[in-house]
């Protein structure tokens, strides 16, 4: 009885204060660490901890995207915490939570899906960690949850593709076949939207078929084989990515037609293979969707951490490549 009483007193009088003091000391150390980090601010981002939650490694485009971020981080001396979501949002959310727990200075997310981000973004906000979104937006009513969105404008890509067609394809009653990406995905929805906008404004053009080949080469080939049998008079093929266009080209050749001549082919992404196809005359035009946003992303991160205002939406400038400029650009393509 007495012994336990002493024990309790001992705990109260000795251990507790010592413990508190120790934790205060540790907190002090932590504070010191932060100070030293902020003193490094003059030299840009070097020594900063930045967490990056990537979607995964699902395509060549995505790998180029990851490489761009990683190499730029190394160049600037950023302590990059990289996490691949392996195609699952819950992995990304877990990664963001761990970034918050590690006390990073800034978090970059390339969201896999648009919804379901509010809770974890609120946690980041409470921890006063700014968030930058890459490639895709998130669906939230509270726009204070992230600092800025940085990426390509898929609708604009659709418009650029449509505009190239209006400028370069002659004739009346031009029949277009549209090959969509995965139904419901942001690039598929937006690339269709922008393209349809342009087509609807021009009575010369008409979309006769619009179906999905899931961004896959094999599906692009299968779908084109069917469409060629259904329609004998396709003038233009518009594919939401290069891969599907490559598959379709094989189907067109197997049907005894000349891709690029009998059927004008327009696609989006502009990966290196598409450039060689343009030079070979099999693709007429490809709209760039650049994955190399590392430099811009870290410019923006630097501004945010320096307390400067940044635009809410920063759009990468996308270029259009066709027979006039493909040969000049193919060697500089990295992906």
């Amino acid at each position: 009885m007495k012994l336990s009483h002493y024990c309790r007193e001992f705990l109260k009088c000795v251990v507790l204060p010592v413990g508190l003091a120790a934790s205060a000391l540790l907190a002090g150390c932590g504070g010191g660490g932060e100070e030293s980090a902020s003193s490094a601010e003059q030299t840009g981002l070097s020594g900063k901890k930045i967490g990056f939650a990537q979607t995964g490694a699902e395509s060549v485009w995505r790998t180029a995207h990851t490489d761009s971020i990683k190499s730029e981080a190394e160049k600037r001396g950023v302590d990059l915490k990289f996490s691949s979501g392996e195609g699952k949002q819950e992995n990304q959310i877990r990664a963001v939570r761990s970034f918050i727990a590690q006390g990073v200075d800034l978090i970059m997310i390339a969201p896999i899906v648009e919804t379901g981000w509010d809770p974890v973004l609120k946690e980041a906000k409470r921890a006063r960690i700014p968030v930058v979104l890459l490639d895709r937006r998130v669906d939230t009513t509270d726009t204070s949850l992230f600092e800025t969105f940085l990426g390509s404008d898929f609708v604009e890509e659709g418009r650029l593709a449509g505009q190239w067609m209006v400028d370069n394809v002659k004739g009346d009653a031009v029949k277009i076949v549209e090959m969509q990406g995965t139904p419901g995905s942001a690039p598929a929805i937006d690339r269709q939207k922008g393209f349809v906008e342009v087509v609807n404004a021009n009575s010369r053009f008409q979309i006769i078929e619009s179906q999905s080949a899931n961004f896959r080469r094999a599906d692009g080939k299968d779908l084109m084989e069917s469409l060629l049998k259904k329609h004998k008079d396709i003038d233009v093929l518009y594919a939401h990515n290069d891969d599907m266009a490559f598959g379709a080209i094989q189907a067109i050749e197997a049907a005894g037609l000349k891709p690029g001549e009998d059927i004008v082919i327009i696609s989006v992404d502009a990966i290196k293979e598409a450039f060689s196809m343009i030079i070979a005359g099999k693709i007429n035009c490809t709209v760039e969707c650049s994955p190399l946003l590392g430099p811009l992303a870290f410019d923006v991160a630097e501004k945010i951490l320096a307390g400067e205002e940044v635009e809410r939406k920063i759009v990468m400038k996308d270029e259009v490549f066709d027979a006039t400029n493909a040969a000049a650009n193919i060697d500089s393509r990295m992906y």
Binding site: V60, S212, A218, K230, D243, F246, Q250, A254
Partner: protein, 336 residues
Amino acid sequence: MSTVSKRNWRENPLIWPTAGLALVVAFNLFFGAEFFSISIQDGHLYGNLVDILSQGARVMLLSLGMTLVIATGGVDLSVGAVMAIAGALVAALVERAGLGFFVAFPAAMAVSMLLGVFNGSLVVFARIQPIIATLILMVAGRGVAQLITTSDVIIFEDPVLEFMGQGYLLGIPFSLWLVAAIFVGMVLLIRKTAIGLLIEAVGDNENASRFSGINASQLKLIVYGVCGLLAGLAGVLEAASLSAADPIKSGELRELDAIFAVVIGGTALTGGRFLLLGSILGAILLQALTVTLYNVGVPAAVAPVPKAIVIVAVCLLQAPRFRTQISKIVGLRRGK
């Protein structure tokens, strides 16, 4: 006597995938007869029906292997990933290592078979549930394929591969000859020897078959190995038909198509009796549906729905219980 023959007719499991196919054909007859037009172009057959068979060749190969695995009471989820690995391997060996087809192809086949045997040994020796054991390779296999291609798509040029995937023999796609040869070979091996009986025995009751002297472990290893081999062949066919090997998208979700084809074809997932011809019919039905939907122009977002309805209908009709319920209802009405 007539009732007996009627029951036999209904109990023949091949009738339901055939009925499904008939439904698709009838729909197309009604909707657009150009679906059936077959012409000759550049000395080979050209038309939607040819496409269905040649595009369906990959799933047919997968479903043949899957049928055997399912007959032993297992399942192989890794076939899609094995497709990717085999395609990547052939492409890497031909294009990057500069080896000829006759080195690259056997190598890819050997690796695919070993991957199948690896699945089998997880099931047999480690006693892991087949669905989990093959899930391992399904997930890891994509990574392996990406390692082989260094996460790129490999584009290759090889005359033999091109012929395999895109060529024609006597006006018929070569891939179909290949599938037909394998199918006939398997049927002969399975029905003219005791192997088919042994596989069914293992699937029906593994313990009983072991007590009766069947080497169930060895049999399972062989079956998983064959499934891996056929998956690899399907992967090489896919790569060959595109002249490109994509480690990420090749064979994506194909394992589900293969399982569908087997189940539609009348082989029960619980194992036991199996029907190779049924699985082929199932694979053709799946591809016919896909092509029909393309042809009709069903919007992409809703295209899976009609596909699912046909599949559910065929599966329900296969269930004896559902059929008795239906015939009771029909009988009641008639009785009135």
